[in-house]
């Protein structure tokens, strides 16, 4: 974990409201694992006060990528960065997906901006058989950047399957699930709950990458609890997560 000053190279639109920020970040680039994240100081001043957490979306040599939509003040400022701007970035943070498992097939389930960590995962699973399912509000939010073997679902049916991504995998499970499959999921909490249920019912391992409000991002503020499903205690999303196995936590 370092506090690296990274240099913005470009900010491009993948969709009208979805941005891909490329930056030179040799240290973080050399350390980051899929679904680890960074806590970004979006401005030089203390406005906004807190850093903003983002998954590292992709890595190319010394460069890392962040994918985000404009949600509020912080992402607005990020979307307006220009080549040459410097960002203070804390990372890599948290534990990424656990890939030291025996599996031959990876099922990627992404809801909305939950696609962000998957280009990097896809790269690191070059030897595996990957099936990617992405869900989006509508056609205008579908992002296929850096993904493989994609099936898409949209809430309004404007693109691909009409429904959400978990409904989509239901219809596809016969074809894609075998006994050496692991699900890697990221997206809004309601979707992750559905994934937990789906994994349980079909008893396959699922690793879910969670999201919650954070201040520090590295374990000192205790601001990011998620309740354990085994004991009466809280995990910290930033330190113990953001990736958990489906059975580990109560969302």
């Amino acid at each position: 974990m370092v506090n690296e000053k990274i240099i913005v190279k470009s900010v491009e639109n993948l969709q009208p409201n979805i941005y891909l920020l490329k930056a030179e970040a040799p240290i973080i680039a050399s350390q980051i694992k899929p679904s680890q994240f960074c806590n970004i100081k979006v401005s030089e001043s203390y406005f906004p006060l807190l850093r903003r957490p983002f998954s590292v979306c992709d890595v190319e040599g010394d460069h890392i990528y962040f994918m985000f939509d404009v949600h509020g003040v912080g992402t607005k400022i990020l979307s307006e960065k220009k080549s040459g701007d410097i960002l203070e970035v804390l990372g890599p943070l948290g534990n990424g997906f656990n890939l030291n498992k025996k599996f031959t097939r990876a099922i990627i389930l992404a809801g909305g901006l939950g696609v962000a960590p998957f280009p990097l995962l896809t790269k690191s699973l070059s030897d595996k058989d990957i099936h990617t399912f992405i869900g989006a509000r509508n056609k205008g939010y579908v992002v296929e950047y850096g993904l493989k073997n994609i099936k898409a679902a949209t809430d309004d049916g404007s693109y691909g399957f009409h429904g959400n991504v978990v409904q989509l995998i239901e219809t596809e499970k016969k074809n894609v699930i075998n006994d050496t499959t692991i699900i890697f999921a990221c997206g809004p909490t309601p979707m992750l709950k559905a994934v937990q249920k789906f994994a349980m019912e079909n008893n396959i391992e699922a690793q879910i990458s969670t999201e919650c409000a954070m201040a520090c991002g590295f374990g000192i503020c205790q601001g990011c609890p998620v309740h354990s499903s085994e004991e009466d205690k809280y995990f910290l999303v930033c330190k113990d997560g953001p990736v958990f196995t489906a059975g580990e936590i109560e969302l």
Partner: protein, 307 residues
């Protein structure tokens, strides 16, 4: 000019410099130690510890506000036993000065914690948190009642010879009354201030943004309030003050010392800039040189007020 002297003395408590890491904002030091050499700072004040472990409040525990943040962690902590077994040794090995912050739900609990921890020679002092806004039983109630604060100070004082610091609540009309009680009962210093009570609502769900409903406001937003409390005590009570509230850089730290603080704590800034502590110490040295201050403690209460 020669290296300015940054050492400060608060009652029985001597520190290599006036910068302390505020309780609850650096846990037990493990994570922050990757960014800040804990042997170089005045002291680390550990997360409020209670007799038994506390699970803390459910999510959402924090939310950003204008130049500030609300938190309702609920004093989540490992409890006395684990604290002694695991946390103290780690900090000892880093050669950092440890001040142990204690939070309790009863006067007896304050006393018992202090007694037990008094045996730990690595603990150089106690900060008694009588002012946490986020625990139902005790906290706020004690903090807003001078006689309760008096009793706690007296009882804790009775069981330890180590420096005792009382951390005061800002949610009162005249904080100097509380500082005076603490002084009278033998406290070595007061920490001023803990967080202000605040809340925030989601206008679509109509739910409070933090599960605990109310939380503690910290960060730059509260600096003017903290400075006024420090000044009020400095002008009315003869007790060393540790200023805390919204300090983001060395300039803020100097402002607190001018207003009456002998030392200061940084809290929220640690979340945003984990190197802040070291940067502030460097800034203080530079300021001393520029202004030919050979002894930083001379800055304390050096305010010039209009008649």
């Amino acid at each position: 000019m020669s290296q300015p002297n940054l050492r400060v003395k608060l009652g029985k408590l001597e520190l290599k410099n006036p910068l302390l890491l505020a309780s609850g904002t650096v846990g037990y030091g493990n994570e922050i130690s990757q960014f800040t050499d804990l042997s170089k700072i005045g002291a680390i004040i550990t997360k409020s510890v209670s007799l038994k472990p506390r699970k803390g409040n459910p999510p959402q525990r924090i939310v950003e506000t204008a130049s500030g943040m609300l938190n309702a962690i609920g004093l989540a902590n490992v409890g006395l036993e684990v604290f002694i077994k695991e946390k103290i040794p780690f900090l000892r090995d880093l050669k950092s000065t440890i001040i142990c912050n204690i939070a309790a739900s009863s006067i007896e609990e304050y006393v018992e914690c202090t007694k037990t921890l008094d045996y730990e020679e690595d603990i150089k002092g106690f900060e008694i948190n009588v002012s946490c806004p986020n625990v139902k039983e005790g906290g706020l109630e004690f903090g807003n009642n001078p006689s309760a604060v008096g009793t706690i100070t007296e009882k804790v004082r009775a069981v330890t010879d180590k420096p005792v610091i009382i951390k005061l609540s800002p949610n009162v009309s005249r904080i100097s009354e509380f500082a005076e009680v603490a002084r009278a009962e033998g406290a070595d210093a007061v920490s001023v201030i803990n967080t202000l009570v605040g809340t925030a609502f989601d206008i679509w769900s109509r739910k409070p943004k933090i599960a605990n409903i109310i939380g503690g406001l910290s960060g730059p937003a509260i600096k003017p309030v903290a400075l006024a409390k420090v000044l009020e005590i400095s002008r009315n009570v003869d007790i060393p003050i540790i200023g805390v509230g919204g300090i983001m850089d060395w300039k803020d730290a100097v402002e607190f010392m001018i207003a009456g603080a002998s030392a200061f704590q940084i809290g929220t800034v640690n979340f945003i800039n984990p190197q802040a502590g070291i940067e502030i110490i460097e800034g203080l040295e530079k300021y001393c040189r520029q202004n030919e201050i050979n002894d930083l403690s001379k800055l304390t209460a050096s305010y010039e007020l209009p008649k």
